[in-house]
């Protein structure tokens, strides 16, 4: 199995859905439309000549200042043919939404929840899209590039009185 075989098989069926193809150091990555992303993942999994049955990784990226702003990246692996392909799909504000891969790959469940938790990308068709790493009452999605770091001023001897005056120390 090599990149050209996969690319030819995908181009044959999803020519209209492929937005970009990139090959870097032997790794193939394809950018899809949201509709084509789900269909291509289904095709890659079910076609016996391809058999990309393992979702190796799913994560989100925030390209602040770019259109579309967010991108979801999924790596599919074919154990039978010892080959890997990367699927990307873009989504934009205010409600970044991407079809969920959980019906195809159960392992996508937690990884999509993590992506939702940290980046605020919603996944259509996910069984229970709730926070997984952060506390349930957390406000915001901290892996976004425009999220404040939330650091506190460091107390030294010259400014500790001012800082400690408004620090929420616990009372016994």
């Amino acid at each position: 199995m090599d990149n050209q075989t996969v690319l030819a098989a995908l181009r044959e069926r999803f020519a209209a859905e492929i937005l970009a193809v990139n090959e870097f150091r032997g790794d193939l990555s394809l950018t899809f439309t949201p509709k084509g992303y789900l269909a291509a993942a289904q095709f890659l999994r079910d076609d016996p000549d391809l058999a990309y049955t393992f979702l190796e990784n799913l994560c989100g990226v925030d390209y602040l200042g770019r259109k579309p702003r967010f991108e979801v990246v999924a790596h599919l692996t074919s154990m039978r043919h010892r080959h890997r392909v990367c699927l990307k799909v873009g989504c934009d504000e205010p409600e970044p939404t991407v079809p969920s891969l959980t019906p195809l790959f159960p392992t996508a469940n937690y990884q999509e929840r993590e992506t939702f938790d940290l980046l605020g990308i919603r996944f259509d068709g996910h069984p229970s899209l709730t926070r997984i790493l952060l506390p349930d009452d957390w406000v915001g999605h901290p892996l976004r590039k425009d999220h404040p770091l939330g650091d506190e001023e460091i107390a030294f001897t010259f400014n500790q009185e001012r800082i400690y005056a408004r620090k929420p120390f616990v009372r016994e």
């Binding site: 952060l134 506390p135 616990v170």
Partner: protein, 174 residues
């Protein structure tokens, strides 16, 4: 050890109740068995045979907060972990003490960001802060000794003493 006088060979020792109670508390102080990050490795080192915390009656780490009276917060406390730490503290019976071990537990350390509590004293009242990243076992034992001194000063009336101030640095460099 607070023994004022021995009465001949009758084997009678006189002392104050306060001293005996405090002596008992310091010499059987059982820490709660939990570690949050890399400081816990140094805490295990302090308990292992090289440094041997059991010299001070602390060989037992209790796995249940209801049997522990010392909480050593060893490591950074994330915002998600903070309610758990507080709950463990609430479940410990009185009297109870807390040591913030390491820079992260004391003030946030290198993790000055949204995810880490900037000092565990926002969650539980801390008695002794041990500096270091991570502190060596000697430093932790020094903090425990300092806590023992503090416990020895406790009054049966409940009156609070002023904090121990170290005017001279512990290590004298000539």
């Amino acid at each position: 050890m607070g023994i004022e006088e021995k009465a001949g060979n009758l084997g009678i020792v006189t002392t104050t109740l306060e001293t005996v109670v405090n002596w008992g508390r310091t010499n059987a102080m059982w820490p709660l068995l939990f570690g949050l990050a890399c400081c816990a490795i140094e805490m295990m080192g302090a308990q292992a045979s090289n440094y041997d915390l059991s010299r001070f009656g602390m060989e037992l780490n209790r796995a249940s907060p209801r049997q522990a009276d010392l909480m050593i917060v060893a490591g950074r406390v994330s915002r998600k972990m903070a309610p758990v730490v507080r709950r463990l503290y609430d479940q410990m019976p009185e009297p109870k003490w807390v040591i913030a071990m390491g820079d992260c537990a004391a003030c946030g350390g290198i993790f000055n960001n949204y995810a880490i509590v900037q000092g565990v004293d926002e969650v539980v009242p801390v008695d002794v802060y041990v500096a270091g990243c991570p502190p060596r076992p000697e430093a932790l034992i020094d903090g425990i000794m300092m806590l023992h001194q503090k416990v020895m000063r406790e009054k049966i009336s409940g009156k609070k003493e002023s904090p121990i101030r170290i005017d001279q640095p512990l290590v004298q460099v000539k």
